[in-house]
Structures are given as C-alpha cells and as structure tokens.
Symmetry: C2
Subunit: 333 residues, 2 copies
C-alpha cells in the first residue's frame, strides 16, 4: 500500500503523453495529487501547482510518484538527483517502470539509510494465497474485452467516478501498474506466479458491505492467445456479479496478433458468462462499453444504438458519452 497523497514527478517529460500515468492520477484521484514536480526542459504540464520537494512535504505529500515514462529504460542521473533528495526529504518513492528503483544501488542505499520505502509496482509486494473460491460478501463488477487495450481500465474508473458522484458505496480495484499508482494499492496481475493469480484477485477484493461494489480492473482477453490465462484468473478470482463487455469496433486484428480476428460481442458474452457462472451462478452481463475514438460522433452514436438493439443491453462510450448508462444498469443488480 502506497502512502497518499502524492507529489507527481514529471521529470524531463518530452511531451504530454509521456506523463500519462501522472495524468491518470490527476484525472481519477485528484485528491491524491498535491502538486507536480517538473525538471528543466519538462514539456508536460498537468495544471497542478509546481512545488519544490519541501513545499510538497509541507502540503502533506508522502510519496513521490514517478508519473512519467523514462527514455530507453534507464533511470537517468538527472532524475536520480531529485529522487535521492526526495528520500532525504522524507518521501517514499513509487514507480511502475520496468527498470526497478530497488535495482539502483544509490537509491536502495539512501532508502535504507533514511528508512523510506521504494515501491516498484511492476512486481508484487505481497505473497498471495492460492484462491479458495469461497463466496464473498459484497458485489463485484468486472470489465472483459474482445481484445487487450480496448478500454477496460477506463471503463471501471469512469464507472467508479460516476458511482462516487451518486454516493454509491464502491472501490476501484487495480490489477495493473497504472491502476495501482492511481489508487495506491492493487495486484500487478501480469507479474504474479501462475498458481497465485486467482488468489491475488481474491486478496484485493475481500468480503465487504452487502451494498458495496468492487470495480475490478480487467486485463487481457479470453480471446487473446498471449494473455487469456490472466483474464481467466480474473474471472474466477473476481467472482463477478456483473460483467461489462468492452470492444473497439474498428480494430482489424487482435492486438499484437496479426493472424487473429476479434471475436464478436456475442462470442465474448457467451464465453465470459459461462465461465463466470462457475464461481457465481447469478452473474449477469449488464452492459457494453465501446471505445469509439476512431469513429465520428454520428457513427459512434449509430453504432451504439444498433448494438443496444442487437444485444438487448445498454451500450455507451464512457469517454465520449459518460458512464451513466452502465451505472444505471449496475444499480439494478
């Protein structure tokens, strides 16, 4: 568990896109973002107050989060200087980079000497149990996709935001690096050892109030040859009461697999629901989330209308048209 709130480190980001992790934190958990730290030459700006390390500490920030992708997989000497100072000022550090903070001898030494924590969210920090499959209290929603990278995390975060606005009792449960940094907690499922995958999902989504919803972040796709095992573990560890089907209609093949066509939403519905019912016989598919970024607004609206008729389910693009329809459907479960 990463201590919040954060100072967001944008480093020397070459453009706004390089700071997309920091942007995600600011968009979805603004209360976690006390300010931003930018180095000379930084081309990203989240519109937060620029702060020195000391100012951010005074404002309550507890962890410096690396919210920017580094170049070439190397933590540069320029970054290092700031990171070491941050440890000395009393910050923990958190990073989702592939190259780990703990593998940098100088950072490890200063963290040790100052008693600060280095969070590398790329790897698990917990020894997860083997899943026991026992029915848990509270309710759970999981987004499943026809492919990877079709908007499953965005869908869950948008629903979480709408549900909070309505005063509903809910938690976003992160299963990937970005989600973990946004919320400060979760399981990096793609890095968990096979036998413990479903157990890690049970671990992050424990018993809860009867009216509480966990919005569990989806990963991969049951139809993606590389990552389907991860998705399967999410369905059986997640024990969903509600599934959201996610899709990107203009994609010509599965991401990274040029020989594979996407399944239909009907295929996804049938397979995902059959498998979810193994652990939760009352599971329902309650709606469809479509990433329409490559369609005109008129085409997107027409496609969603056609889909609602065809599938008999509410369909929206939560980025373009909001998540209200999906939350309305969830509220009836």
């Amino acid at each position: 568990m990463i201590k919040t709130p954060y100072l967001l480190f944008l480093g020397d980001a070459p453009d706004q896109l390089a700071a997309k992790v920091a942007q995600g934190i600011k968009d979805w958990r603004p209360e976690n973002a006390v300010g931003q730290y930018r180095m000379d030459g930084c081309k990203a700006d989240l519109g937060l107050t620029d702060m020195t390390l000391r100012e951010a500490r005074a404002a309550g920030a507890k962890t410096l989060v690396i919210g920017v992708a580094n170049r070439g997989g190397v933590i540069s000497q320029a970054w290092k200087k700031v990171l070491v100072m941050a440890l000395e000022e009393g910050f923990d550090l958190a990073s989702g980079l592939h190259n780990l903070l703990r593998d940098e001898p100088d950072l490890a030494a200063v963290a040790q000497a100052t008693g600060r924590v280095l969070h590398d969210v790329r790897l698990p920090e917990v020894r997860y149990p083997i899943a026991n499959g026992k029915k848990r209290t509270g309710k759970r929603c999981l987004a499943v996709g026809t492919d990877c990278s079709v908007g499953k995390m965005y869908t869950a975060l948008a629903m979480d935001k709408e549900m909070r606005a309505r005063g509903m009792n809910c938690s976003f449960r992160a299963t990937g690096q970005t989600g973990i940094l946004i919320t400060g907690d979760g399981a990096p499922l793609d890095a968990v050892v096979a036998d413990f995958m479903a157990g890690s999902v049970e671990y992050i989504s424990p018993d809860n109030d009867p009216d509480h919803w966990d919005l569990i972040e989806g990963q991969g796709s049951l139809f993606h040859a590389s990552y389907s095992g991860v998705t399967m573990a999410l369905i059986h560890g997640g024990q969903p009461d509600a599934l959201i089907l996610c899709h990107e209609p203009t994609r010509e093949h599965m991401r990274g697999l040029p020989d594979y066509r996407l399944p239909t939403l009907e295929d996804l519905r049938d397979v995902a629901l059959t498998l979810a019912k193994v652990v939760n016989p009352t599971c329902q598919v309650i709606g469809i989330s479509v990433n329409t970024q490559h369609m005109s607004e008129a085409d997107a609206a027409a496609y969603l209308a056609e889909l609602e008729t065809r599938m008999g389910l509410p369909a929206t693009d939560p980025f373009r048209f909001g998540a209200e329809k999906l939350v309305d459907a969830l509220a009836t479960v």
Copy 2:
C-alpha cells in the same frame, strides 16, 4: 534440460508411495533409470539394481534424481551426505522438492566447486517469451479435465507409450514437476509468471514434422477456481488439434473446493472446444479418459459404455483398460 540417464535416489523412503516420482520415471522412461540408490532403512524398492554412486557412474548415469518425497520439507543431513558425494562423483542433481537444492549452502558450494548442475524443477530454468499465437507445424494433443488430479498426466503418458509401441512419431511434453523429472525436460507451468504462461507452452512444443504429435501434459481445470488460468494458458499456448476429456465420476466436489460441484463432460467439451478453436479452428474432441479406480470393473465398463453412447466418443480408463482406443482416435486426426 536434465542429462539422462539417471540414478534414482530413494533415500530413506518410509514406504513405496513416498517414492512415486522414481516409480513414474521407471514406469514411463525405463531407459532413463540405470539403477536405484537406497539408504539404510529405505522401505521402497523399484526392482531396479541397487548401485553405489561409482557403479552407477560406470553404468553411464549422469544425474542423481531425488525420486522420493522428503519429510517435513527439510533435506536431511543423512541425504546431504549422499548428495554431496554424488556431486563429487560427477553427478548433476535434480529435484522437484519445494525446498530447493540451490538454497542449501553446502550443496550450492560443492556444485560450484565441482562444476555440477543443481536442477530444481519446481522453478523455471528458462526466460520464456510472451506467446505469439502463430500456427505451428506438427500436431498437438492436450488432456483437459473436469477437475484437477483426474489423470491428465497419466493419460498423456499412457498414450505416448502406446504410440511409441506403434512406431508413431510423438513426444510427451511435461508441464509439471513429475513430468519434467520423468522426461528430463519441460516447463513447470504453475511457477511461471502470468504474462509468460502461454509462451512457455509454445516454447516446449515448437514446430515439428507434419506427422508428429506432441502429447502436452494438462494442468488444473477450466472449472477449478484456483487454477483455471493455468489451464487457459495451456489451451491457448498449446494450440491443440485434439482434446481428450478427463473425468473422475465418483468425486463429490472439486478438489480442495467443497462448495463446487464438478461440471458435466458436456460442459467441459463445449467450453474447452470453444476456447481451443480461438487458436486452432480445426481442433476436435477425440475421446474421453476416465479414472475408474473407485468403481468395480463391471461398473467401470458399464459407465464407459454408457458414456460412449451419450457422448458419441471413445471412452476408456487407460490405467485399467489401456490407451488403445484413444490412440486409435488420434490416428484419424
């Protein structure tokens, strides 16, 4: 890859069952078993020649395989003495124990000094790739189960034996610790990191001759909440042309999950085939393997006959009645 042939170390096994890994090697790969090494008080006997370390080396043995379960998860001092001598005599060591050879400082030091290899097959020895889903040459058969521990490994090994006897071109591909020790190679799938599971299966089952069959060892079950992700990765990494359905008809609940009933063979057929067709549209279910150990011979025969009528597929218990029917069916694919 573990160097064969082996000297099988039975240690101070308290009974025959404790030596079941060694028994598996002797049963399925007798050509890998030069002899057995028994300590004072050993109550197991494989019927192989008892050999000293030196005699076994002279007979060509290259690896001492720990073919016995240890008590309390500790490698005893009595064992250690033999294992150290074995390294000094020029043996590599191989073990599937949970407590690792490499974690014993004395064994690690002697192995280092003598240039011998310690194989802990509990953990991967390879950095597996992410699966690419590309269609591979050759043919593949995978056993899938209604539950864990219903005879998937036994089924594949029995088919492999029958196919070898018929002169068919085939390989058993191990995905678990016992299978790896039997054949000297394979991927310990339950210990592979999530993102690389399907890739590890692709790795152990590469392109092959058009008439060659890989008999891939199954794991877990699509219907087992704890391990279904592993099974999913096997199906999508394995790219099977043929599926065998495995079942144990007297089991009252899923193994380790008292609240879960077993699925029907029809459920298993439908879900497994649907998922297998994602990576191999021509995949077929070709037969049923039933573990009838808790049924009388007459009841078993009647059950299998009923199953053949009901499912329209050949059904056998390969332990009791042989694997011929399954191989006959495979030969038509």
